[in-house]
Symmetry: C2
Subunit: 204 residues, 2 copies
DNA sequence: GCTAGAATGTTTGCACTGCTCACATTAAGT
DNA sequence: ACTTAATGTGAGCAGTGCAAACATTCTAGC
């Protein structure tokens, strides 16, 4: 569909911007994304993205929404239908792994003050909430799904952020800034231990 | 001590910068703090703060460290010596209330990618970690304090962030951006319900 | 096929930012 | 008193978000 003969019209600049933004986020782990850098990478003038996004926040919201959907896919891939706390621990580990592997994207998704006005973004996070609710319904059938869902999501979400910010005590050599992403196995184990400590006992 | 006769030397610009930064953070809830704005508020030239802070990050780290200490005080004020899960719920509520009342400060403390190189900041968060560990040791004597401490902190921390980002379903009128800080009682109740759902059952 | 008009990109420009460097002013030590 | 270090100022650079005015291309309606 997008002919590359004429260079003036890009073809699908909106999608190209989102893709460029994601690439930049992954390359330098900083969440400080510049709209101009996005435009440069998309091979387009600095203000062209404004034809597709009202402002920087709108672009970020689009990226965040896409990130949410991908995170959702990762979680179901980790365990299609969790029923026991152990299954839930696997899903939790996948959640944290996503955050650690794509720190900048994860920060855009959650750490940035998000505007609920953006429909796409709001829908994506609402879907996330319902997914967690459904899991809790299966794993803890007797519980108050509303409160339990909130609690479980908070637990996992908090683990992701604390790990991301290196607040859980560096496992690697002291002061290594890259220690966060150092050993996924260590992180996994830490997440499982934490989830077990809280949820494993519920079962007893 | 600080004479106000001569206006050239400020007297204690370092402290004044931190104070100005905190004021600005509280006034407009955005975590996007400008060093120049800080300088303006301190009544000093734009580059003067660079005599006391290596860069913007260093100022933010100082602010974050101070915020951590204040949060610690708030928590012990909520309950001096928690022993039961209900006590812990009170502390959790205080944690989330702090985040909701000072969203910008809380974001600076945690959402910003923090450099572990900053000693003051690292010490403040390490103190937080030990505090949580001590509480868990008293509330769940038999448990693995390391894992349980991580889990409890993550739970509370996650609740704070999800609430801050409005991911827990707006209680107020739809699309109200200020709904986050709307009703502290509602937030409190939500936090207690979530904590009870997870920790209350541990006891049974 | 031709031509309005809507989409989409470009250029220019403004206000702001973080940060560096050369310089001015003040405080402190000998 | 004179040197020296500490502290604050000003000009300036590169980069940013965003708004207009302008240019180019696609798409209908005839």
């Amino acid at each position: 569909m997008p002919q590359q003969a004429s260079t003036y019209h890009h073809g699908d600049l909106r999608a190209a911007c989102v893709r460029a933004a994601r690439e930049l986020l992954e390359e330098d782990g900083s969440a400080a994304l510049s709209l101009r850098a996005v435009a440069r990478r998309a091979g387009v003038s600095a203000t062209a993205p404004y034809r597709h996004f009202a402002d920087r926040d709108a672009l970020l919201s689009a990226v965040a929404a896409q990130g949410c959907r991908e995170l959702g896919e990762r979680l179901v891939a980790a365990h299609p239908a969790p029923r026991a706390p152990e299954d839930l621990a696997a899903v939790a580990a996948a959640y944290v792994r996503f955050a650690v592997e794509r720190p900048a994207l994860f920060r855009v998704m959650f750490a940035e003050p998000c505007d609920p006005a953006n429909a796409e973004r709001a829908a994506a996070t609402e879907a996330m909430r319902e997914y967690v609710g459904a899991i809790v319904h299966d794993v803890f059938p007797g519980s108050d799904c509303e409160a339990m869902g909130t609690a479980v999501w908070a637990l996992v979400h908090g683990l992701a952020f604390l790990q991301l910010d290196g607040k859980l005590g560096a496992a690697g050599p002291a002061g290594d800034p890259a220690a966060v992403t150092a050993d996924p196995a260590v992180t996994d184990e830490r997440v499982r231990a934490a989830v077990d400590a809280l949820l494993g006992t519920v079962r007893r």
